[in-house]
């Protein structure tokens, strides 16, 4: 029996054409006993690494001979040339193929590739080419053969005839055999050989249906309209050598040629030798020497009092390993990028496992001293893993762009590009697309999708399908909907398009476009490669993650503000360590704005965990994560913290090992595994995983790609642990935790890096609340809280906050410093919706001089358009000119309507005709407050709930403060404005935070209550929530919701009627009262009619 190699394989990386994953093709090829399989997607190499990885994965599992994997592309031309399959024979030819594809991609817009035959002629050396006959034209057979023959002959001649084949498939269209003999004659006439292909689109015939579906998606038609756009049969699957031999019995040589073709190819992806760039290495030094120099210099800087012995030892050990693994350039490259940022005074800090490295610490890449933590370098790099290390560096989010530009400047576009992100079909996008294909209206698919609300990470349609369909108003079993959902499930995980990774840079010494194709991104002057993070990992190609972190921006801005009044020049490194007052504050759960611990779950955890030292923050950051929560590790840990006597270490049966074998692994966390690497170590120690297996487990957790393999590890882990005498329960919890880490795990080193920012931001909040609040506001959007919450929190911490004013404000929020007084926060124009930055920079800032004395002088010197003046007046910014909101608006409205020529407005003001009018009615406080919210989304005057308080008290509704002090188990009604709605995870529980003038009230809505009050829960802005008070041991109070009343319409009355504050209220001044910490002011929706959304997280 003759061998057969299929070289025309279109995977699902030819988007919406192929209907199987690359790995499925490889698996099926192995199953069928093909001698080789060639992956040739349309003008792309995006799927080849996955095919290669799949083959590598099968290798150790089977004794059978495996197919040889051929890497190629199907070149699709823009000039009418028939498609040509191109396969490089060696590494150089592969480089040329990459160049060729890159050229085509650079010519086109993102995601496209425009190739001409001339490109192929230029780069064809070393490529094996198979011409795919074009679809036939009109005319008769004889003419057709003639015309075809000539075209192909010309093409073959242009390509040099050598290494050129004519591909022939038997598509079962009727005259297959006539066609085959005609192609044979044409090939003979052109002097090239005929090559058998099946031009496959899917790995097995069952995928024909999905292929039809993706064709419809591609062509934007329904199945009913698709007609002959679809294939007439299911023949385009991988076929066995026997079947191919039988089909091609008239042309056995075409089958034999496939083997000749495959044998000619000597290139595998394993041949790609990747070179690190070595820019920063000075002449005469090796990279290793240079790295050592930098490390020792850095060590002296980090330890001015003398480098401790253990640090010296750690650096020596690390340098030796780095040299052995030849990755010194990688460290130098990252160091170089960090230095570039430092030169521009951009704050940056390494995150992730790099924090395990002392070398990274002394080079200034990371900020946590690994020696003080016992962080292990082996967790960062290990020789047996044979993978490139992964260093992620966070930069200030507003200035990351500068870093990226600097990287391009240094390395050039041909050596630096972003990694790709493969955007795949998720449950929502899949059901939307398949719904269209089955002719479902958008309403129906939207209803199906809305059933997915809040489904978080695991968003496939599993067992909940029926419930969701019912929720969407469909009878389960509706065949069309069933089918749409079935194919949506199949489509789930299919690649959809390639996009750029947020900040993962691939850098090379040689041309990057000879390692992999590069194409333009949507953003000008931005390019990305075709491989994603996992592909790059598999190919052992280095990537530096240049990430953006809002908190770094905030911290730098805060340091800059503090310099205005405090001579100490603070940096990340010199903030007072381990300050008790900072921990006191955190223990109270007073953490709004603090990095990482400001979410509601974290704020609830703080009083329970009571952090007293830096390592507690590391635990705090890591513990409120899906891993420890799913593994049910949180409560055991908290119990042990309260009572250290409870600390115990699960132990194996005595005959299996020492009873304290886990003490080393879990010692730091009181016997409870909390960090990702502890779980790994546990697998090795307790379940006797080999390092490779543990590594496999880690990878299975980290990527969705290997979803299936995790079950294998499950049996092994639980089986291994119970066999050695651990309890079934502990083993299962460990595994659950590992699963939880899968999507959102924190390794200890990463938590430690983040904890430094937690500490610094908490320190800022404790000692410089005004500067911290201003910096937070100036770094928006970031974090969990809207500006109103940040301002309220600052005022609760005795910060005086002043409203924006044309004589005092700048674009940013600023501090007003007076000797002997604490700094005052002055709101900036950026808080005003619709205000443009250039109105400040180009107009107000230039015209202000020593201040504006009157509205006329402001209009004349600032020369703003009428629209800008209205926005300023709406925001009540003319108080320093003795004009309140109503007066200034009435005045501004008089100006001529000429947005384009602000000069006219200015002139008009100068010779504004005198106007004597009756005074306008005084604007009541409630209306002022509403207007504040409408223009700034916050008010310094009052909380809207104050105006409703008297009325609501009469109805028996309690304030948030009253709820806080209510008795455990009591039934109460709380009235408040909805601040946030959260639906974490898949449990269906909704958390609603209500706010009023006395603070906030946290409510929990169980799924059954949610379903009954869905419209109030989802739609209400002002709610009455009736429920039971639940008070925890740590005095955290929740209201467990039982019923809801939507009172949103009450807000409308506030600006319509002259609502007065209840008597005895603190606020009487219509202007701006001093902050009263007992009556904190809350963020409130901005517009009473169309209230802005609450912040909803799901």
């Amino acid at each position: 029996m003759s061998a057969y190699a299929e070289i025309a394989v279109t995977t699902n990386f030819s988007f919406l054409r192929g209907a199987s994953h690359p790995g499925e093709f490889v698996g099926q090829a192995a199953e069928l006993g093909l001698s080789a399989i060639g992956i040739a997607d349309r003008n792309t190499l995006a799927g080849v690494v996955r095919a290669w990885s799949s083959l590598e994965e099968i290798k150790p599992q089977t004794e059978k001979p495996l197919p040889k994997l051929l890497i190629g592309a199907r070149l699709v031309f823009a000039d009418g040339t028939p498609d040509i399959l191109a396969y490089p024979t060696d590494r150089d030819a592969y480089g040329r193929l990459c160049r060729l594809l890159s050229i085509g991609k650079l010519r086109a817009k993102k995601g496209d590739c425009t190739l001409f035959i001339g490109d192929l002629l230029e780069w064809r050396t070393g490529l094996l080419l198979a011409i795919i006959p074009p679809p036939r034209g009109g005319g008769g057979w004889a003419g057709l053969e003639n015309e075809y023959g000539k075209r192909i002959q010309r093409l073959a001649e242009a390509l040099g005839k050598k290494d050129v084949w004519l591909a022939a498939a038997l598509p079962h269209r009727g005259p297959d055999r006539r066609r085959l003999s005609a192609l044979a004659r044409i090939a003979r006439g052109a002097g090239i050989a005929l090559l058998a292909i099946n031009d496959v689109l899917y790995h097995e015939p069952g995928r024909r249906e999905l292929q039809d579906v993706v064709t419809c998606i591609r062509e934007h038609v329904t199945l009913d309209e698709a007609g002959k756009l679809l294939e007439p049969n299911a023949e385009r699957h991988l076929k066995s050598p026997e079947e191919m031999a039988r089909l091609f019995r008239d042309a056995p040589d075409a089958i034999a040629q496939t083997q000749i073709f495959a044998d000619r190819i000597g290139f595998t992806l394993g041949d790609i030798q990747y070179n690190y760039p070595d820019e920063p290495v000075p002449p005469g030094k090796t990279p290793d020497e240079h790295l050592a120099d930098l490390a020792w210099q850095g060590a002296l800087r980090r330890y001015p009092g003398g480098v401790p012995d253990r640090v010296v030892e750690a650096i020596r050990k690390e340098l030796a390993l780095i040299a052995r693994m030849r990755i010194a350039q990688y460290f130098l490259t990252v160091h170089d990028i960090v230095r570039i940022a430092e030169g521009k005074e951009i704050l940056c800090q390494g995150r992730g496992s790099a924090a395990n490295s002392t070398v990274c610490y002394v080079l200034g890449i990371t900020a946590v001293d690994p020696a003080t933590f016992d962080l292990l370098f082996e967790r960062f790099i290990s020789q047996e893993r044979q993978e490139p290390p992964d260093i992620d560096v966070d930069f200030e989010h507003e200035r990351r762009e500068e870093v990226i530009q600097a990287i391009y400047e240094r390395y050039g576009h041909h050596r630096a590009a972003l990694a790709a992100t493969v955007i795949t079909y998720r449950a929502r996008s899949a059901i939307r697309e398949t719904g269209k294909v089955f002719g479902l209206t958008e309403d129906v698919t939207s209803a199906l999708v809305s059933g997915l609300w809040g489904s978080g990470g695991s968003d496939s349609w599993g067992e909940k399908k029926h419930a969701r369909m019912k929720q969407g108003g469909f009878a389960p079993g509706n065949p069309i909907v069933e089918r749409a959902v079935y194919f949506a499930n199949q489509l789930h995980g299919f690649p959809r398009h390639l996009s750029q990774h947020v900040g993962g840079f691939v850098l090379t010494q040689d041309r990057l476009d000879e390692v992999m194709p590069i194409g333009p991104a949507a953003m000008e002057e931005r390019y990305f490669v075709e491989w994603d993070k996992d592909d790059l990992d598999a190919m052992k190609i280095m990537k530096v993650d240049v990430l953006a972190l809002g908190m770094l921006t905030c911290i730098r801005k805060a340091f800059a503000l503090i310099r205005q009044y405090d001579p100490a020049d603070y940096t990340l490194a010199n903030v007072q360590n381990e300050d008790a007052a900072v921990y006191d504050m955190l223990c109270l759960g007073d953490a709004i704005g603090v990095f990482q611990v400001e979410s509601r779950a974290q704020i609830n955890m703080l009083p329970r965990l009571r952090p007293r030292k830096f390592y507690d923050l590391v635990v705090e950051v890591a513990i409120v994560r899906p891993g420890p929560i799913q593994g049910d590790m949180v409560h055991p840990y908290l119990k042990r913290r309260k009572n250290p006597k409870l600390v115990e270490y699960p132990a194996p049966a005595p005959e299996h090992g020492p009873a304290d074998e886990l003490k080393e692994v879990l010692g730091k966390t009181m016997g409870v595994p909390l960090f990702q690497e502890q779980a790994m170590k546990l697998a090795m120690v307790a379940a006797k995983f080999t390092p490779e297996e543990a590594n496999g487990l880690r990878r299975a957790m980290a990527t969705f790609r290997n979803l299936g393999t995790i079950d294998k590890f499950r049996d092994k882990l639980i089986g291994g642990m119970t066999r050695r005498g651990y309890t079934q329960d502990f083993a299962e919890r460990c595994f659950k935790q590992i699963e939880g880490f899968g999507s959102y795990g924190f390794p200890e080193s990463h938590a430690a890096s983040f904890s430094l920012l937690v500490y610094v931001s908490a320190w800022l909040k404790r000692y410089h609340p005004a500067a911290f609040a201003a910096a937070l506001l100036n770094a928006q959007p970031m974090g969990f809280y809207a500006p109103g919450e940040i301002v309220r929190d600052a005022r609760e911490h005795w910060v005086e906050v002043r409203p924006p004013d044309v004589n005092s404000s700048e674009w940013d929020n600023t501090l007003e410093i007076a000797a002997g007084e604490p700094p005052v926060l002055r709101l900036g124009f950026r808080q005003i919706s619709g205000f443009k930055e250039e109105w400040w920079t180009d107009r107000i800032a230039k015209g202000r001089g020593n201040g504006f004395s009157s509205f006329e002088s402001f209009a004349r010197r600032a020369r703003l358009s009428k629209r800008a003046l209205i926005i300023l007046a709406e925001a009540d910014c003319f108080r320093s000119l003795d004009l309140d909101r109503r007066e200034s608006l009435w005045m501004v409205r008089r100006l001529p309507d000429d947005d384009a020529l602000p000069l006219f407005a200015a002139q008009f003001v100068e010779d504004i005709p005198a106007e004597t009018t009756a005074p306008l009615p005084l604007m009541p406080l409630a209306e002022h407050t509403v207007a504040d919210y409408q223009t700034m989304r916050l008010s310094l005057r009052a909380h809207l709930m104050q105006f409703l308080r008297e009325r609501y008290s009469g109805e028996g509704a309690m304030s948030c403060a009253e709820i806080r002090n209510a008795r455990d188990g009591a039934t109460a009604v709380c009235a408040g404005v909805v601040l946030t709605r959260q639906m974490p995870g898949t449990a269906g529980v909704v958390f609603i935070t209500l706010s009023d003038e006395t603070g906030v009230c946290n409510t929990v809505v169980w799924p059954s209550v949610f379903e009954a009050y869905r419209k109030e829960v989802m739609g209400g802005r002002l709610l009455f929530i009736k429920g039971k008070i639940q008070r925890s041991a740590e005095d955290v109070v929740h209201l467990i919701a039982e019923s809801f009343t939507d009172r949103t319409q009450d807000l409308d009355t506030l600006s319509e009627e002259d609502v007065r504050l209840p008597p005895g209220s603190q606020i009487e001044d219509l202007a701006y009262p001093k902050p009263d910490p007992r009556a904190p002011l809350h963020r409130h929706p901005r517009n009473v009619r169309v209230l802005p959304k609450s912040r909803d997280f799901h």
Partner: protein
């Protein structure tokens, strides 16, 4: 938005996604503004029974000028009640008010349903209405309310020059109109295009010839109007008003737009002759009206007299036949875009066929035998076949008790069924074109792929080649 939606807490201006989050199974219907306008026009037409002067107040309002006619309906209150009852009976929610100026009436209708203002009482009647009642844009309303002017009365107290400086002269017009100080004229609706011709007879006509002659002359009138508009007619309706008050409507349809009077009359003739319930003139018709129900642009080339002549004749024939026998009795094959042979064409009423929509794909090449049989059986007939497995061509087959030995065969042409139309998987067919020893050609297929789909494939003959 309907009342049920309002009860669920939804309101206009809410984002659809938010509404869906609140009420997951909400039914959403896209606003159809042209349809709304059409409906409003229809209500306006209907209201012309009260007054000839009806004006639109877009998007959902109407002005009726009832100057001097209220007494016909028993006074203003009675008239208002009559209109309210009559419009409400058609399923509308109605708000009405009566005032001396349109602006005042509009403001009161929206905010004080049922008000009737005594002459000169407008300013007082509207004083308490909210500022929104003014027919001005939302920005002006917002500005007024920000200034603390929350009722029309408060606005009216400000000086005119103060308001004019801020909101323009147009605003003063609106304000004064609302206060009853000025009365802008109503803009009557543009009359509907008149695509109708009618003739009244002093002496009712009875004979078929007179009727035909009348239709012809009406058709000529219509043709003139149509020609001036560059239009032709697709659906025509003749209304026959009998002297005794009875009325009969007869409609005819054409396959293409036309404005030839003779052709129109011919169609009516066919139709009238074929009526199961013949037109009974009784004492004669005193009014015959011919109306173009559906007219469309008639491109000039369609009435040229060159090569389209034959096609045109066919169209005239189909029109005539359809008028006589009914459109669904005159059918024509229309190609369909599908791989499935028996679904390749469907019969549709000839007047509605659009044979160019899916041209027959040129399946066969110029110099080869047809790929599809000339005669395709409505129901494939089972046959006994000797063929090589799995997908070899048939060698011999028995059909209708006759044995055929195959001398030539080509295939298979493998056609899989349209899986999404069937609940159960359908067998794939392998079609062969075969020729027997007598030179007869057949289209056979194997039903079900051997071993992949079935253990024993069945065979059918699906058609005959010429």
């Amino acid at each position: 938005m309907d009342g049920a939606a309002a009860r669920l807490g939804l309101h206009p201006g809410k984002a659809l996604a938010d509404a869906r989050a609140m009420v997951p199974d909400i039914a959403v219907i896209r606003a159809n503004e042209p349809a709304d306008l059409k409906l409003l026009e229809a209500v306006a037409d209907w209201c012309e029974r009260y007054t000839p002067l009806v004006a639109l107040d877009l998007p959902y309002g109407l002005f009726l000028d009832i100057t001097g006619i209220a007494h016909l309906f028993g006074g203003e209150r009675a008239m208002l009640d009559t209109i309210r009852r009559a419009v409400a009976a058609q399923g509308f929610a109605v708000r009405l008010a009566l005032a001396g100026t349109p602006h005042a009436a509009r403001a009161l209708a929206h905010h004080a349903d049922g008000t009737i203002v005594t002459p000169g009482g407008e300013a007082q009647a509207v004083a308490a209405l909210p500022t929104e009642a003014l027919a001005t844009d939302a920005q002006v309303v917002h500005a007024l309310k920000r200034a603390g002017l929350k009722t029309i009365g408060q606005v009216a107290e400000r000086t005119r020059h103060e308001l004019a400086a801020r909101f323009g002269k147009g605003f003063i017009g609106v304000l004064d109109g609302t206060l009853g100080k000025s009365k802008p004229p109503l803009t009557p609706r543009t009359p509907l295009p008149d695509l109708m011709a009618e003739r009244r007879f002093a002496e009712p006509i009875v004979s078929a010839d007179d009727i035909a002659a009348t239709l012809l002359s009406l058709g000529e009138n219509l043709a003139q109007v149509l020609e001036s508009r560059g239009q032709g007619v697709r659906v025509l309706e003749a209304s026959f008003f009998r002297a005794d008050g009875q009325m009969r409507r007869i409609a005819v349809e054409t396959g293409e737009a036309t404005r030839e009077p003779k052709r129109m009359v011919r169609l009516f003739r066919e139709r009238l002759d074929a009526l199961a319930d013949p037109l009974d003139p009784g004492f004669g018709f005193d009014l015959i009206r011919l109306a173009a129900i559906f007219a469309q642009t008639l491109v000039a080339e369609a009435i040229s007299f060159d090569t389209n002549e034959a096609a045109r004749d066919i169209k005239i024939l189909t029109d005539n036949l359809s008028a006589r026998f009914g459109p669904s009795r005159v059918m024509r094959f229309q190609p369909q875009d599908t791989h499935i042979p028996e679904a390749g064409a469907v019969a549709v009423p000839a007047q509605h066929a659009d044979p160019d929509r899916f041209a027959w794909a040129p399946l066969r090449l110029a110099d080869e035998a047809p790929r599809r049989p000339l005669r395709l059986f409505a129901k494939p007939e089972p046959i006994d076949v000797l063929a090589e497995v799995p997908d070899g061509p048939p060698l011999r087959f028995r059909w209708r008790r006759l044995q055929h030995t195959i001398t030539q065969a080509e295939g298979p042409e493998r056609i899989a069924m349209e899986w999404w139309r069937h609940a159960e998987p359908q067998p794939t067919r392998d079609y062969y074109r075969v020729e027997d020893e007598r030179g007869h050609r057949f289209w056979l297929y194997r039903d079900g792929l051997y071993e992949r789909e079935t253990a024993a494939s069945r065979w059918y003959v699906h058609g005959l080649f010429a």
